[in-house]
């Protein structure tokens, strides 16, 4: 009976492939994993966005309008809505010239969680504290 921690590290940019989307959806699935576990067993995910992965978080995406698919932005907002911790690499945001106000939030959905913009060193610490690493 123990918790295991998983780091979902999203490093791929959006839309060229579905990889980043699947990072979010797999992390969100922690909500129902208890159906297949014993009492007291928990999976605790943390989503980390590094490198080009931070580009998934730019708000006002028009994927539904242009491709008829749920935007990566929506998956990001849903991740916040289900209380996932989402860490965004500060150095990579600066490298791409992205200010915090360009990134999504899920306040309109009633989410309590917000994106946490942190130095890479904090993301490295998450990797060290996690039992397993899943790079998307």
């Amino acid at each position: 009976m123990a918790d295991i921690k998983l780091a979902f590290v999203i490093q791929r940019p959006p839309y060229k492939s579905e990889t980043s989307t699947l990072g979010f959806t797999h992390a969100i699935s922690y909500q129902v994993v208890e159906m297949l576990l014993e009492d007291g067993q928990n999976v605790i995910p943390t989503v980390c966005l590094v490198g080009e992965g931070v580009l998934n978080l730019i708000k006002d995406q028009k994927a539904m309008e242009n491709y008829g698919v749920t935007s990566v932005e929506s998956h990001g907002k849903n991740s916040l809505l289900v209380d996932l911790d989402m860490l965004v690499c500060k150095e990579d945001m600066e490298r791409f010239g992205l200010a915090e106000d360009r990134l999504l939030d899920a306040e309109d959905m009633g989410a309590d969680k917000k994106l946490q913009i942190v130095p890479y060193a904090e993301i490295q610490k998450v990797l060290e504290d996690s039992n397993h690493l899943l790079f998307f």
């Binding site: 998983l6 990889t19 797999h26 922690y30 999976v43 690493l133 899943l134």
Partner: protein, 119 residues
Amino acid sequence: MGVLTLACFSSLVGSKSLDFTLKLAKTAADKGHTVNLWLSSNGTMIGKAHQKHLKDYSHAEKPVRELLEKGVQICECEACALARGIQKPEAIEGVQWNAMHWYLAKIYSSDRVLHVGGE
């Protein structure tokens, strides 16, 4: 002996990541380890029966059936498969269909996890 859970998100045709995953799964199973395999995204193509083995393309039906015979649990993402037009009656018998929480639950009980993400 340990428990290894593998995932593969890459396609059967057009990438060799799935070939790598299957070979690693077979080698680990042959050495006596317990192996689980989760297939998502384009990796779900692997679960379709009646793959024709053309020499220019990777072919996975035979190794998948061998892994199943060795007791490897293989499960593919149902939504990913359905989105690609793969129906359950066309699936290789023994390959499970489920959702992403199957993968997380297998990870819970694993000693090692190798997540082979998509391109």
